[in-house]
């Protein structure tokens, strides 16, 4: 007999409010329907009423776990519409900051994911402490702890502070050790592995058909990464390899993110070593005016959660239309299919492995 149960609206390790309605037969999920929209703020409409550089703070509040990646995606879209080249050093600095942001975001995900599958609060506290070290680095570079708003047209609001390289080196060496510790701790723990391995399997073919993105896509064996396939900034000058796993289960998605953190650490080190001297400052805000009216631009960025695509129709003062392809929106849309046939308790393992941020889903 099929019973319909309501879960939520809750605030699981998804950062925001999600309601799930599950049809269960005994303990097996027959169907699942996510109800979203609790955090819908109409950002796409809102940006149409604001001038270009009034918008980055709104963009950052979409994905508040990795604000800088959205900030960057938006500013880069405006730059593309204006036809402005980013300064050479600014590209290197942005790459460093974005990869640090990725590490911070994945650390938060790791803590909450471990919580979701019953590894309560040990990893959570560890990961949050480590994340704060990365955030302190970002604070030194931008001046704000969480919402940075440090991208400017053509560059940044400020260059990296003196001594940033050494400090970042110390923090990264520490985090690198910690990642090994997390892997040892979690992968030897049956409490964690048994709730991750073989749960929520998404095949390669279905992953492509359902349009999932980011670590979810790469966890299903598709090696698509915007940083590689459509390289921006200096990713093509760095030795970067997209991380993939072929199993397509929750554990594969976990492993992809762990490997990505290690890869990000390598990228930051390499970028800091190769970074040229020069000017990284962006233009003052008053100078901003896209040259072409009704010019259509679209631009992809690999945020920690997947591919964020911004489709903008530019007007002279304000965006005429800005459409955002939120990576978690489409990952959540695939959740009913991933969850079908799993146990009720695994719903949260699956939602955790998708790394949902509801602000990003609802926009």
């Amino acid at each position: 007999m099929v019973t319909r149960i309501n879960i939520g609206p809750v605030h699981p390790s998804t950062h925001g409010v999600l309601r799930l309605v599950a049809d269960v037969d005994g303990d097996t999920v027959v169907n699942l329907e996510p109800h979203i929209g609790f955090l819908h703020r109409g950002v796409e409409k809102l940006v149409e009423t604001r001038m270009y550089m009034q918008n980055p703070p709104y963009m950052e509040k979409l994905d508040y776990i990795a604000p800088m990646s959205y900030d960057d995606a938006y500013v880069a879209t405006v730059e593309k519409a204006m036809g402005v080249e980013v300064k050479e050093r600014a590209m290197w600095v942005r790459t460093v900051l974005l990869e640090l942001q990725r590490i911070a975001s994945h650390l938060l995900w790791l803590g909450t994911m471990a919580n979701d599958v019953g590894q309560f609060f040990t990893v959570f506290m560890w990961a949050f402490t480590d994340r704060d070290m990365v955030m302190r680095l970002l604070e030194e570079a931008s001046g704000a702890r969480m919402f940075y708003v440090n991208m400017r047209i053509g560059g940044l609001i400020r260059d990296l502070p003196p001594g940033f390289g050494e400090k970042a080196g110390e923090v990264l060496a520490y985090i690198e050790k910690r990642i090994k510790k997390y892997e040892n701790f979690l992968e030897k723990d049956p409490l964690f592995t048994e709730r991750m391995k073989g749960i929520g399997v998404l095949s390669r073919e279905r992953a492509i058909e359902l349009g999932v993105t980011g670590p979810v896509l790469r966890g299903s064996g598709v090696g698509y990464d915007v940083r590689k396939n459509n390289a921006y900034y200096v990713y093509d000058k760095l030795n970067f390899r997209p991380q993939t796993r072929s199993d397509g289960d929750c554990f594969a998605r976990y492993k992809v993110r762990m490997l990505e953190m290690a890869e990000s650490i390598r990228l930051v080190r390499e970028a800091l070593a190769k970074m040229p001297e020069g000017d990284a400052l962006g233009m003052p805000i008053k100078l901003i005016l896209p040259s072409a009216k009704n010019r259509m631009v679209s631009l992809s960025r690999e945020t920690p959660r997947g591919e964020c695509l911004m489709y903008m129709v530019a007007d002279s003062q304000k965006p005429y239309r800005l459409s955002i392809r939120a990576p978690t929106f489409i990952n959540l849309a695939a959740m009913p299919e991933i969850s079908r046939g799993c146990r009720t308790a695994d719903i949260f393992a699956i939602s955790g492995s998708l790394d949902l941020v509801m602000g990003d889903v609802d926009r």
């Binding site: 796409e44 359902l210 459409s323």
Partner: protein, 122 residues
């Protein structure tokens, strides 16, 4: 690539057969005289993107569904119906996705008035 509304299903099927099997996004832009519906497709093995653009009349806004070719279209189409009032023909009607908003005009249309009283229903 600009195409007619009537060829959308055929063209989508053709592109899928050519390897454009990954749907990146469906979105729409209201240019007031017409609404442009944009389908962004990707060929993952050749790393190429293709865009299909369909113009529809704002007073008679509908497009045929592409959900059979691209299952990923499900939520995008529902979002577009809710936010642009573009009806999706050929698929079952589903619950509104984001705002439960069925007032007129749809929120992302350009003739939508800010702060005006609208009725919402669940």
């Amino acid at each position: 690539m600009k195409i007619e509304r009537s060829e959308l299903g055929k063209k989508a099927g053709e592109l899928k057969a050519q390897g454009y099997s990954y749907l990146v996004k469906i979105t729409a832009v209201d240019y007031e005289k017409y609404i442009e519906v944009v389908y962004m497709l990707r060929n993952l093995s050749e790393n190429r993107d293709e865009t299909l653009e369909v113009d529809v009349d704002p007073a008679d806004a509908w497009v045929p569904t592409v959900i059979r070719e691209f299952p990923a279209a499900d939520w995008y189409e529902r979002e577009m119906f809710e936010m642009f009032g573009i009806e999706i023909k050929g698929r079952e009607a589903r619950r509104l996705l984001l705002e439960k908003w069925n007032g007129k005009p749809a929120p992302l249309r350009k003739n939508f008035v800010w702060n005006a009283p609208y009725e919402t229903s669940d």
